[in-house]
Symmetry: C2
Subunit: 540 residues, 2 copies
């Protein structure tokens, strides 16, 4: 067989050749939507490569991006790696210190920054040790007033660049193409490097009929940010398949998401459960026609069953839960149905959809405890480990590699069980597990149960120290508007759990909060919650 | 990213883990159908590996298979390559000399032979120089009477073998896994080696929603033989996705094919147009319920539009034309529709379905003539060249490599045009092109037009020598039963063509035949036809 390398370059070529008129619908500011055909996208990606090369980008140069989901970010997704350089997608929601850390640690030499984020980033400039050029991604060719030197306008660079630039076709497929950093429980974020090979294989997986089935006739809209785990790989796969893509830009909200779905006839969209909860709320208030959707993908944290049920039952839209991490590119599994599930009741459907689902073809997973691999019984918990060609093999220049990458497997730090049908079910993070009297209690199971209660908007269950049992679960609950946080409600919720769980699983108490603290990507920040509760308990 | 090799081994593991109860429905003889769950398939594949290893199979050993489509052949598809050995799928329809040639040329050491084909093969044994063992694939553990030594029963070997055998997981993904030989216009067949990497990537392509969309809930039935271009890769992909597969065994016929579709609720089937013509004939005579079919794939030679229309219009079953060659694993392209074709008339649908279609994601094609790449205008002809990770890079130990593999491209020998939408349309084989007065005439276009005439069953158009124009087209026609082959009919057919083509394209004459000679895989054998006609012309 030919040794044709698996390169992102082939995606650009394919989109340009076969789907030149298909559109990238890109919102860059309020009331500004661009409609860019793939023909122009390919030209502009080459021009970007030409412009950045003139600024000094070489094979292996790290180019940081600091922006929302829009066509310029997409051009960088290809224009940078297709030359052999590396796009470092910076999580704009990190703390200023961490943003400076990841830019310095990756040694970014050029930063592509959204115009509306530039004021924020430029304040960090004095801390940045390797950055030589700032390129402002905005609709204007003007440069904002700034004391920084070497600030360029993206559009001015594109105007001046040549689209004769040719991407090399002889790159090694293991050449790094992208980087993301993932937050750590303690310490600085950890870097993950994606190769061309990994991203190409991941794109094939997204196109499988048994996975997301992404295809030319889809209109996809990744709500998940392009700075977060490659926007789950969707922008890459969309270019490969000639799929129309809607990139919702900065400052989006539930109303805007619904408007875009309705106007652009979006067929497939993806984001965190928090987004879908908010979208449903808006939809109930101001109905839209969302019948174009063939599926909603939800991941990043557990999706409450009520949320799943509303989409599946009321709107008749498949609500697919996915699982993955920054280290896994990210797609590991999806809660798709197999043929034996054709005649499920709605309750059973919702149960299966709420699982993390079936492992993608090409990956291997195991759940292991101190005795080795656990049985597929839906009960025995263990740590989930993963391997495969789109799984990271290390943290970039980071000693913490040794804790997470062992014997060719990535240790996810997630506690899971495997159902008899081979569906993954996350029960906890290793760090969040509650060990009561030597037995594990799944905080996620308790949270999911609480979130099916009609009064509950959000719930997190955390371990609190206990003299006798060492740890006991405590429920933190945010109620829906109009509900009363009193002892009556507390009792109601605990009784609700008693009917579903063994007695020793039921939390000792319920604390009502206004909000659950979340990470920059919308996951419950249980460490902060525990700290907050500990303070509160100490105050008492 | 992890350097996890792309290996067929992972397919077996996946089927066994996630889809142990899904079935391989295997017909091994008249009235004998086995229903083997993937759990047993995986065990039996490992046992086969164990048994063959005991017979001397090592890394790189060539093991020939000489059989129809059934579960034992499928076990060999994995049991042999997953150990690092190579399965040589021998085309049982080759001439005895060519069969002996390919076995000697590949240096097969073990032959797996269907019980009902063994008498045929054993006659060739004296010519075989490298074969040390014969293994009879049949339902019995008895060995047929034979003078040959080292003849084993497949089932007896499996019985005695251990399923503790473990496939190595550290094979290089570029390790050869399979071999097929393709007939040459002159001389001996040419060998093509498939690697694990090539077959894995090809399997991903088959699963793409925009390609065949093969998935777990499909029930596939490859009619195309497992000794012909990997049965178009379907058995491999089916194991990867946990797809139910129906393997129709020896001596199948249109009635049997239809019975299996009806009984097993086949959703996807694939074969040459000749098969589908015969299947339609049988279906008209004895209707069956074939509503389970979601698509029929047709390839190997051009599909007449009447055939496509009957499936699409009368039976409402998508009839997808594919293109590929032994050298391309084989899938290169499929006549699937893109979103802009949603509102086609039936005539337009049939027109597009009759094309060879859209290039698979991951491959590149070009059509070149003496001026370089031809424009995508649907008119300008040139030779089709292909490259990509599942395209052969050479003929196995064969000097003819230099003619077909140049500058990193495979020269297919097919003449094609590209439509404005990027759909391939084959117009001829380089060897079959008609060059009349310096201009090319597409024999395939004329054949396709003739085959839309209600009186015509099959038609081939070939070049015959001409004093003035050097070559002129001659039509060879097989009429439907009940039609009269006379001058009136001849005139009718030529007028039919005159209404559709430039005058100089219309053949000078029509010759009525009882049958068009075909290759072992059902393609028109135009060389034989030309010889036959030359003889006939000389006789006159």
């Amino acid at each position: 067989m030919m040794q044709t390398p698996l390169l992102l370059t082939s995606f650009v070529k394919r989109a340009e050749q076969f789907f030149p008129d298909k559109l990238i619908i890109s919102r860059t500011a309020e009331n500004t939507i661009h409609r860019i055909p793939y023909r122009d996208f390919a030209k502009r990606s080459r021009k970007l490569a030409d412009a950045l090369t003139k600024l000094g980008m070489k094979h292996g140069t790290k180019v940081g991006s600091f922006g929302w989901n829009h066509h310029r970010h997409l051009e960088a997704y290809f224009g940078v790696p297709c030359t052999g350089a590396v796009l470092h997608m910076i999580n704009i929601r990190l703390s200023p210190e961490h943003i400076a850390y990841v830019i310095n640690h990756a040694e970014d030499e050029i930063l592509l920054v959204d115009d509306n984020l530039f004021p924020h980033l430029s304040q960090l400039a004095p801390m940045l040790k390797t950055v030589k050029h700032y390129v402002i991604m905005g609709d204007s060719t003007e440069i904002p007033e700034t004391k920084l030197e070497n600030v360029h306008s993206y559009e001015a660079l594109i105007e001046a660049a040549s689209d004769d630039f040719e991407f090399p076709e002889d790159l090694d497929e293991n050449t790094p193409a992208g980087m993301c950093y993932t937050s750590a429980t303690t310490g600085n974020p950890k870097g993950v490097v994606y190769t061309h090979r990994g991203l190409v294989l991941h794109s094939y997986a997204l196109g499988l009929a048994d996975a997301m089935g992404m295809r030319e006739r889809d209109v996809i809209m990744p709500i998940v940010p392009m700075f977060h785990a490659n926007a789950w790989g969707m922008p890459f796969a969309a270019v490969f398949f000639g799929t129309t893509q809607v990139l919702p830009g900065p400052g989006f909200n539930p109303a805007l998401i619904l408007d875009l779905i309705e106007q652009e006839k979006v067929t497939l969209t993806a984001g965190v459960p928090t987004i879908w909860l908010a979208v449903l709320k808006e939809l109930e208030k101001n109905p839209r026609d969302i019948a174009s959707l063939r599926a909603v993908v939800s991941g990043g944290s557990a999706s409450p069953k009520g949320l799943i049920r509303t989409f599946e039952e009321k709107y008749r839209i498949p609500f697919i839960v996915g699982y993955g991490l920054t280290e896994t590119t990210p797609l590991v599994s999806l809660s798709v149905f197999t043929s034996k599930m054709d005649n499920l009741t709605m309750d059973e459907r919702v149960d299966i959809r709420s699982l993390q689902g079936l492992t993608m073809p090409g990956l291997e997973v195991q759940i292991i405890n101190e005795k080795g691999e656990v049985p597929w019984d839906g009960k025995t918990m263990g740590e989930l480990i993963v391997r495969g060609p789109w799984i990271a093999s290390e943290y970039y220049k980071d000693e913490r590699t040794v804790n997470a990458f062992k014997d060719g497997w990535f240790y996810t730090g997630d506690i899971a069980v495997m159902t008899g049908d081979g569906y993954l079910k996350l029960t906890d993070r290793t760090a969040d597990l509650i060990k009561s009297g030597g037995e594990w209690i799944s905080s996620v199971d308790l949270e999911n149960a609480l979130m099916t209660h009609e009064a509950v908007f959000e719930a997190a269950v955390v371990a609190v120290p206990h003299e006798k049992w060492l740890e006991r679960p405590l429920a933190c609950v945010v109620l829906h508007e109009g509900q009363t946080a009193d002892d009556e409600m507390k009792k109601q919720l605990l009784t609700y759990l008693e009917n579903q769980f063994a007695k020793w699983w039921v939390p000792d108490d319920v604390v009502f909060l206004d909000e659950i603290p979340k990470t920059s990507v919308g996951k419950f920040l249980k460490r902060a919650l525990r700290d907050q509760l500990t303070e509160r308990l100490e105050e008492v």
